[in-house]
């Protein structure tokens, strides 16, 4: 009997140890300041006649003078790949999206000749995105005959918008070193500290769970909203409070922050979800969608009987829209 218990414990421990959390994707994107300074922007006028300027990331790599940017991104990619964290390449992702669009427009069914359906939302979603953005800015500065690099790099969580790592400073001035050497030196100088900050973020994640954002909305034809009352734990509570209790019960820190609560909109930030959940006797990685599925399933049961749709914005943000699918 003892042997069986010991074996079972060993197997369970092995399963827990073997489970791996979902790995976030990381992408380097030039900052808005970099794009504006170098003229990589595009302008458009909205329906109110206001002129807007936005970074033209989609076309940035078609410009002639982006060798420096390419060099810095390559250097960062090389270093991160050495650390077991291959970066998602922005230039390649943009090309891939363009190619996919061409292929989708040409692809037709062999039996009926019908085309692939793509909603406006699908088109919007099909953009270059990553879970962690490395927002990069650098300038080659000149002081008399000397050149030096001003460098700024921030790691941002795409969903919580929190800065998880940041480095900035100026490099050593030089009269003889070419710009690419100065840039390489800048990347090497900041990368170890940047890596240590990323490591601290992942260690915090392993201790306290992944931080995600959960937003709840209501379809306009729904017969229920967040002020609807239900008989719950010997009391009549509004759906807002019931959902808040569910969030508290199912998060690692039991203290997610409810940042908005109206009849039609509820949002929770600092939602720390477990990295793993047990499924079919083994631990599998959990992301925001997997976590929200628990809430969707809870709302579908008695006494609520509310149908809802899950819209996944990525590894760390999910929307639940109640009322129907």
């Amino acid at each position: 009997m003892k042997k069986i218990i010991l074996s079972l414990t060993f197997v369970m421990m092995s399963v827990v140890l073997m489970a791996q959390a979902k790995k976030p994707t990381i992408m380097v994107i030039p900052s808005d300041a970099y794009c504006a300074r170098n003229g990589y922007t595009t302008e458009w006028v909205d329906e109110n006649g206001t002129k807007n300027t936005v970074s033209d990331i989609a076309n940035i790599f078609k410009q002639d003078d982006v060798e420096d940017l390419r060099l810095v991104i390559s250097e960062l990619s090389k270093i991160m790949a050495d650390r077991g964290f291959a970066l998602k390449d922005l230039e390649q992702t943009l090309k891939s999206i363009q190619q996919e669009t061409v292929e989708m427009n040409l692809l037709e069914s062999s039996s009926s000749g019908s085309y692939i359906t793509e909603s406006m939302l699908d088109k919007v979603v099909r953009t270059a995105k990553a879970d962690i953005i490395i927002d990069l800015d650098f300038t080659v500065m000149q002081k008399g005959p000397q050149r030096y690099i001003s460098y700024n790099m921030r790691g941002l969580d795409s969903y919580t918008n929190k800065v998880i790592a940041a480095n900035s400073g100026v490099g050593s001035p030089s009269t003889s070193a070419p710009v690419n050497l100065l840039l390489e030196e800048a990347v090497l100088n900041y990368m170890d500290s940047f890596r240590a900050q990323l490591m601290a973020h992942f260690e915090d994640m392993s201790r306290n769970g992944r931080e995600v954002v959960v937003k709840l909305r209501v379809w306009d034809n729904a017969d229920v909203d967040f002020e609807s009352e239900f008989d719950f734990e010997d009391d009549y509570l509004e759906l807002t409070d019931i959902i808040s209790y569910w969030m508290e019960d199912n998060t690692v820190n039991h203290a997610p922050t409810r940042t908005n609560a109206t009849a039609t909109y509820l949002s929770f930030e600092q939602v720390r979800i477990p990295l793993y959940k047990e499924r079919n006797g083994r631990m599998s990685a959990l992301d925001a969608r997997g976590f929200a599925n628990g809430l969707r399933s809870y709302l579908k049961k008695e006494p609520f009987m509310i149908e809802s749709k899950i819209y996944e914005r990525g590894l760390g943000e999910v929307w639940i829209i109640i009322g129907e699918k």
Partner: protein, 170 residues
């Protein structure tokens, strides 16, 4: 007369033992003191290396040079190196430092090189540069430029289970 003679011999023996014990303690301090020294970054090395300037106190110059090399590695492992000039801070590879779990490993890895053993840390010293020494009452104050293969050192510590990989969770 006989008693005086015995007392004198006892005093000498006592004095000799005290001096020996003190010397042994000092050696032992140098051997296992992984934190008390001065270290500074003197530039951004080639990819994966760090250029450091280390100051140590030692009785002999040879001993001091060996200690400086060992302490350069110890600094990368436990203390990290503060930002200086245009160089960004170098983070410690083993930020938790010496613990009861890793003490045995690091005592072996960082054991100073002598004729018979020690010096395992030397494989992560790429090269040494300018050396400066100044004689004082206690011995020598020595400074030595050392290039450490920081990335290789970190990878080795990860492979030995002494440090975490950035990938540890995924």
């Amino acid at each position: 007369m006989g008693n005086r003679y015995i007392r004198l011999i006892s005093m000498f023996v006592g004095l000799f033992l005290a001096v020996q014990l003190n010397a042994q303690n000092k050696n032992s301090d140098n051997q296992t003191d992984y934190y008390n020294y001065e270290v500074e970054q003197i530039g951004i090395g080639q990819d994966g290396t760090k250029l450091l300037l280390v100051w140590v106190d030692a009785k002999k110059v040879d001993e001091g040079i060996e200690l400086a090399k060992r302490n350069a590695v110890a600094a990368c492992l436990f203390k990290g190196i503060q930002a200086s000039g245009q160089s960004e801070k170098i983070p410690a590879i083993v930020p938790q430092g010496i613990t009861s779990e890793n003490q045995e490993f690091f005592d072996d890895f960082l054991q100073l090189k002598d004729k018979k053993s020690g010096g395992k840390y030397l494989r992560f010293i790429t090269k040494t540069g300018s050396q400066y020494q100044e004689k004082n009452k206690k011995g020598y104050r020595i400074s030595l430029e050392v290039q450490v293969s920081y990335n290789d050192l970190r990878d080795y510590m990860i492979s030995q289970g002494m440090a975490k990989s950035l990938n540890f969770l995924f």
